[in-house]
């Protein structure tokens, strides 16, 4: 039966599931080149890659969480909260220590520690208290969002002027013309891919996501691995914030709005299964690039009414996933 279908449609030997996101990305790049000569300019490429870095770094962590059968809706709010706390404490430290590098390092340490703690709280409540990940992180999403609004007194938290100038290069400058966020994103993506493919942790994530019971019988420390995925995601949120704060030097209640959904969408576009059991980090990177390229392309043209930006994004997300699912069913 299967062979019959195969000969009838003469399916190409390349597995579309694997290359679908890449094809979508290349198509978008092609459209961009045709629409605007500035699309491939160094400045535009740098802009798009650098702005992808925040969600990209978070999405790498999200890949592990989803692969292990979990979900985290709180990351956007968490990023806003971590950013708010980081700015507040850096402002306070500037007062007591005076502006300087130590304040920046302290700020970075606070961001990473807060991210880790927030991820740990999510993870421990999901694994030990046995609360459904969707509901628990929906709850923490609201909590972090309110906390940052409260910290900012409803307004905007801004980094002091001297510190902003000193910290700015972390977003705007880099090595050999490549901005720091891009470098960090690339390094983390490579590390993530290696971890997913070639370490016991990565394989355990996939095993848990695909069948928790079997994984447990195979002596995988299910709870601990699952907890680790949330902690890892929390730390990555911290890293993303370290890259985000120097850009505008501020955080408010609107910081990181809908980042969780963009990160999840990027992960799924990249070919990771939403129900868990299979994940790939490079796909996630492609997914993130697809999402930010759509926004970039829409801004570079008058092709579509700005009212319809969201619709275009939705169509591309669905198309990218449909391409994979079609072949997936025949697999």
């Amino acid at each position: 039966m299967t062979t019959a279908t195969n000969t009838l449609t003469r399916r190409p030997r390349v597995n579309l599931t694997v290359i679908a996101p890449l094809v979508a990305l290349l198509v978008l790049i092609g459209i961009g080149m045709a629409l605007n000569p500035n699309f491939l300019s160094w400045a535009n490429i740098t802009n798009v890659l650098a702005r992808s870095a925040f969600i990209g770094i978070i999405a790498i962590g999200m890949t592990f969480v989803i692969t292990a059968g979990g979900l985290d809706l709180s990351v956007g709010s968490m990023a806003a909260f971590v950013a708010g706390l980081m700015i507040l404490s850096m402002n306070m430290l500037t007062e007591s220590m005076g502006p300087g590098l130590p304040v920046i390092f302290a700020g970075i340490a606070i961001a990473l520690a807060t991210g880790l703690a927030a991820g740990f709280i999510n993870g421990i409540l999901i694994t030990r208290a046995g609360i459904e990940a969707f509901i628990l992180t929906l709850g923490t999403m609201g909590i972090y969002r309110s906390l940052v609004t409260w910290l900012a007194d409803g307004g905007t938290l801004s980094l002091g002027f001297e510190m902003r100038e000193m910290y700015r290069p972390v977003y705007y400058s880099g090595v050999a013309g490549i901005a720091w966020p891009i470098i960090v994103f690339a390094v983390l993506a490579i590390l993530g891919e290696i971890t997913m493919r070639h370490t016991a942790f990565g394989r355990h994530c996939a095993a848990i996501g695909s069948n928790e019971k079997v994984a447990r019988y195979s002596s995988v420390a299910v709870l601990r691995v699952r907890l680790a995925t949330y902690v890892l995601l929390g730390v990555l949120v911290g890293i993303a914030v370290v890259m985000y704060v120097p850009r505008l030097g501020s955080a408010s209640a609107t910081t990181g709005l809908l980042w969780e959904l963009e990160a999840i969408a990027a992960v799924i576009i990249g070919g990771t299964l939403l129900k868990g059991g299979f994940g790939r980090v490079w796909g996630t990177v492609v997914g993130v690039l697809i999402l930010s390229l759509i926004g970039n392309l829409l801004n570079l043209t008058d092709f579509v009414s700005p009212y319809l930006n969201g619709a275009i994004q939705g169509v591309v997300i669905i198309l990218a996933v449909v391409l994979q699912r079609n072949t997936g069913a025949a697999r």
Binding site: T156, R247, L248, S250, S252, A253, T254, N299
Partner: protein, 311 residues
């Protein structure tokens, strides 16, 4: 029978002698962006002040993040807090019109702030900024300072009536000036969105002479992107609503930020104060109170700088 009678007399006396303890409900959007943050700040401050001045009065302040929740909040206020007056900044006009109309019909004094209801004659008092003049004032400045053939880009807010009125005013002021609007898109009153949008416009257009960011949060994002591209000298940015950082730059004669247009979030204070004044004094206060948008220039900037405001 007897109890009902007493209750009715009590109710009657309440309306007849306004000095007795009364409840004022205030429902405003949550602090989801800088301007709304300042709105919350001013509402909070005014309630504290009025509470001290009128210890008998009760104030119920709720903040909401979507129209649905606001409807529930209003229902709760009427059902459980028995409010005598309502000050409301509708999250959206359409969905809130019905619920507010029912409250007004039940005899509660209704003050609507800033966002008008989709049906006229419901509210007793309407306090609002002037969106048309907000756009027109900025547009007029563009028409006055820019030359024929100058190229500008426009950042709009969240798609809404407020935004449409502002843009219409802006476009009307530009008419006949020969200024070319290169592009118009929604920055959603958000710094990050505005930053990305401006980056892309800078990549797309080799020449931009001015940016109308229509809100200071967006202006902050746009300015950062322009700075990054090293094109600060080429253009100026006009925001709006009078964020204190912007006012300060105007005061310092920053050529990139020459002017700003006000849209005072403190209008919520105007609305609450007027409502309470009406309740306590019985002075006639129904009608409309429109607060004009003014141009902040280096000369008058000092009058618009508020040190302790969060915005």
């Amino acid at each position: 029978m007897k109890t009902t009678l007493i209750a009715t007399t009590a109710l009657l006396s309440l309306t007849a002698f306004p000095a007795l303890s009364q409840t004022v409900g205030i429902s405003i959007p949550a602090a989801t962006h800088g301007w709304a943050g300042a709105l919350n700040f001013h509402a909070d401050r005014t309630v504290t002040r009025l509470q001290e001045a009128n210890p008998d009065m009760t104030f119920v302040l709720t903040t909401t993040s979507d129209p649905g929740q606001q409807v529930s909040d209003l229902e709760d206020m009427v059902a459980t807090r028995n409010i005598d007056a309502l000050v409301v900044l509708p999250f959206e006009s359409e969905p809130l019109t019905g619920p507010i109309q029912r409250i007004a019909e039940s005899g509660v004094w209704v003050t609507v702030v800033d966002r008008g209801l989709s049906q006229e004659g419901i509210e007793n008092l309407y306090v609002a900024g002037d969106n048309d003049s907000f756009g027109r004032t900025a547009g007029q400045y563009f028409a006055d300072t820019l030359e024929d053939g100058a190229k500008v880009v426009v950042m709009r807010g969240i798609a809404s009536t407020v935004d449409n009125e502002r843009v219409a005013g802006f476009e009307a002021a530009l008419e006949g000036s020969g200024i070319e609007v290169l592009a118009m898109d929604h920055g959603n009153w958000n710094r990050d969105t505005a930053f990305n949008l401006m980056q892309d416009w800078l990549a797309r257009f080799p020449e931009i002479d001015a940016v109308w960011a229509a809100d200071d949060d967006m202006a902050v994002g746009a300015l950062a992107a322009i700075d990054q591209a090293g094109r600060t000298e080429d253009m100026f940015v006009v925001g709006g609503a009078g964020m204190k950082e912007m006012v300060q730059r105007i005061q310092n004669n920053d050529p990139t930020v020459p002017v700003n247009v006000t849209y005072p979030p403190a209008m919520i204070s105007t609305a609450i104060e007027m409502t309470v004044l009406g309740l306590t004094s019985g002075a006639p206060l129904s009608g409309e109170f429109i607060i004009a948008s003014e141009l902040i220039t280096p000369e008058n900037a000092a009058d618009y700088y508020f040190e302790d405001s969060p915005y």
